[in-house]
């Protein structure tokens, strides 16, 4: 009896959590007459890919397709990931491998800057971007997202570096390997999985971001996907089929990546709170 109640509660929670995602995909597969009918169907009766065909082949604005916005977003996210991974790896190695005077101060700095409300930085960063002549360019976003993703990336990566046994590097050093060789041949391959996990977080940060992309880029052809979606789908007579198809294409990579790394997220954010 108790078991039934618990399982029932579990199903309710699962329904509440997963339903919007299901509804997004289901709607994207329905023909318009099903989407706008008076009685919504829980499952598409005649599933169709017409909305996907619509957004993938049609122009959202003259000469610019959904794919172009997708590529803008991908370019920004990948560039952010590469820069962030490189800088974070150097810093994480410093923190995890060396004891130096300002080490603790640096760790505190990392914690504190993660708490800066990024929403409060739109105006000063807008000023900086204007001054640098980067307004209306994708590098303005890469630069901004690098700053946003780096502190968490270092915080997370330092655990991965610390987990590589020091003895391996010491053995390589005894065998005459230089510092650079030890780093490249021993530490880097062993930290690589951690680097992938960290990069996924940087990717998601850059991929999802809306406010800064909305503010720093004015030229419609350079819009990232989130901006394009709010701009072209935010109208009153919304074409929900196309919106849901676009949302699905935007969301799926994030969900796949996220499920690969979510364990790290919890340990990164509440690190130290729970022993074991």
């Amino acid at each position: 009896m108790k078991k039934v109640a618990l399982n029932g509660a579990g199903l309710l929670v699962a329904l509440f959590a997963a339903f919007p995602v299901y509804w997004m995909i289901a709607t994207s597969l329905k023909p318009n007459r099903e989407i706008f009918s008076a009685t919504p169907r829980p499952v598409p009766a005649e599933p169709t890919l017409e909305h996907y065909r619509e957004i993938l082949t049609g122009n959202l604005i003259p000469g610019v397709t959904f794919t172009d916005f997708f590529l803008n977003s991908a370019l920004v996210a990948v560039a952010t990931v590469l820069l962030s991974a490189l800088v974070a790896l150097l810093a994480a190695t410093a923190v995890a491998r060396f004891r130096f005077r300002l080490r603790t101060s640096f760790l505190i700095l990392l914690l504190v800057v993660q708490m800066i409300p990024l929403e409060a930085l739109v105006i000063p960063l807008f000023l900086m971007i204007q001054r640098l002549g980067l307004y209306n360019t994708l590098p303005s976003l890469i630069l901004t997202y690098l700053g946003f993703s780096l502190p968490f990336a270092v915080w997370m990566l330092r655990g991965f570096v610390a987990a590589v046994p020091k003895e391996l590097e010491e053995a390589a050093a005894i065998d005459g390997a230089s510092r650079a060789q030890t780093f490249r041949r021993i530490l880097f391959p062993l930290v690589a999985p951690g680097l992938v996990a960290t990069s996924i977080f940087s990717f998601i940060t850059a991929w999802n971001e809306l406010i800064f992309a909305l503010t720093f880029v004015n030229d419609q052809q350079k819009y990232t996907l989130p901006v394009a979606m709010t701009f072209f789908f935010g109208r009153d007579d919304t074409a929900w089929g196309s919106v849901m198809a676009a949302s699905t294409l935007f969301t799926l990579p994030v969900i796949v990546f996220f499920l690969l790394v979510q364990r790290r997220m919890v340990s990164g954010l509440v690190s130290g709170a729970v022993k074991g």
Binding site: L6, N7, G10, A14, A18, P20, V21, W23, M24, T27, P40, L90, A91, A94, V95, F100, I108, L109, L111, V112, M115, P117, E119, A120, L121, V122, P124, F126, L127, Q130, R131, G147, L150, P151, K166, A173, I174, T215, P226, M229, T230, G234, T238, W240, M244, S247, F250, V254, I255, F258, L259, Q262, V266, L269, V270, G272, A273, V274, K275, G276
Partner: protein
């Protein structure tokens, strides 16, 4: 410096030749340099800039580019904001929204965490996977879907309310036909839906963290209490909660920080920055600065006020984390 290195040096340093040991001193700083530069230029400098900008009257992009003078106005921007009755509305919205959302997120997240801990293996995996979906969904698309669910003609909620028996619907809400009903027009209803969206997005993190906490403490104590006849309520408050107190502390602070600066969900749900009665601090600051006519100085002052509020919360958070790093 050399003696310090020898005393605290890593074992790797000890095995390298003496000449190299002196270089070790500088290497960590060199490795940190790019990271420090990024943090300084892209986070700390702008933070200082926003404070500075809040003391100027900045009304055009040409001023930002440096083509025009920056007239210093001292605290005039702050005086204007704090003297405006509208600011009180915004502050009330922000605080009430944050308190309600933190409370609901914590309660729902904790309950789901406890539930996941009690379910059988297969069921727990299934429910946890569904919960992950809500967490993984980007704020943008998650909000767009909820907006579709509350669509005034073909939305699921509109359909559900139309399904209610006419008599019941009329007695309860004073209307039986819900087609065309603007779910987002009434500020209170807007905040209720925004709360639904934000709680849906944020309870998974709480649930998973609470579950991780539960798994890390021995369950014998709870079982012993249960055998002794304590009810679930009593077991939670007398046994589980005290053990997980540090986790709850951090989760409450993190949620507070996140819920104080909700932007994307509100921006998408309201369809931009026109819906002034539902403004909260972050969107208020953005709208003042970037909606024409631009008022960058005024927007900066609001951003500073938001930052100061969060600074207090952050102080509490950092102290908690540091205390726990010491303990472990």
């Amino acid at each position: 410096m050399t003696t310090l290195t020898e005393a605290t040096g890593t074992s790797a340093a000890r095995e390298t030749p003496a000449r190299r040991r002196r270089r070790v001193d500088r290497l960590p700083y060199l490795l940190l340099l790019p990271c420090l530069a990024v943090i300084a230029v892209l986070l700390l400098w702008p933070l200082g800039q926003v404070v500075m900008m809040s003391f100027y009257k900045l009304d055009s992009v040409r001023q930002l580019r440096g083509d025009r003078e920056w007239p210093w106005v001292g605290l005039a921007n702050y005086a204007q904001i704090l003297g405006d009755p509208f600011f009180r509305t915004v502050l009330r919205n922000t605080v009430l929204f944050a308190v309600a959302n933190v409370a609901l997120t914590m309660i729902l997240g904790t309950l789901v965490g406890l539930l996941l801990n009690r379910l059988g293996r297969k069921m727990a995996t299934f429910v946890a996977s569904c919960v992950m979906l809500a967490w993984a969904t980007p704020a943008l698309t998650g909000t767009i879907v909820w907006k579709w669910i509350f669509d005034d003609t073909s939305g699921l909620v509109t359909w559900l309310f139309n399904k209610l028996p006419d008599g019941l619907s009329t007695t309860l809400f004073g209307r039986s036909d819900w087609t065309g009903y603007g779910w987002f027009n009434d500020p209170l209803l807007f905040f209720a839906i925004l709360t639904l969206v934000v709680v849906w997005h944020s309870f998974p993190f709480i649930a998973v963290s609470v579950l991780a906490g539960l798994k890390s403490v021995p369950s014998e104590l709870q079982e012993a209490a249960r055998v002794d006849g304590a009810g679930p309520w009593r077991v939670f408050w007398s046994v589980t909660f005290p053990m997980l107190r540090p986790v709850f502390g951090i989760l409450v602070v993190l949620s507070t920080i996140w819920d104080f600066k909700v932007f994307t969900q509100q921006f998408v749900l309201a369809g931009g920055t026109q819906d002034r009665p539902t403004f909260m601090l972050s969107i208020y600051s953005y709208a003042e600065a970037f909606s024409p006519p631009p008022k960058y100085g005024l927007g900066s002052a609001i951003a500073v006020i938001l930052t100061l509020i969060l600074l207090v919360v952050t102080g509490v958070y950092v102290r908690m984390v540091l205390r726990q790093e010491d303990e472990s």
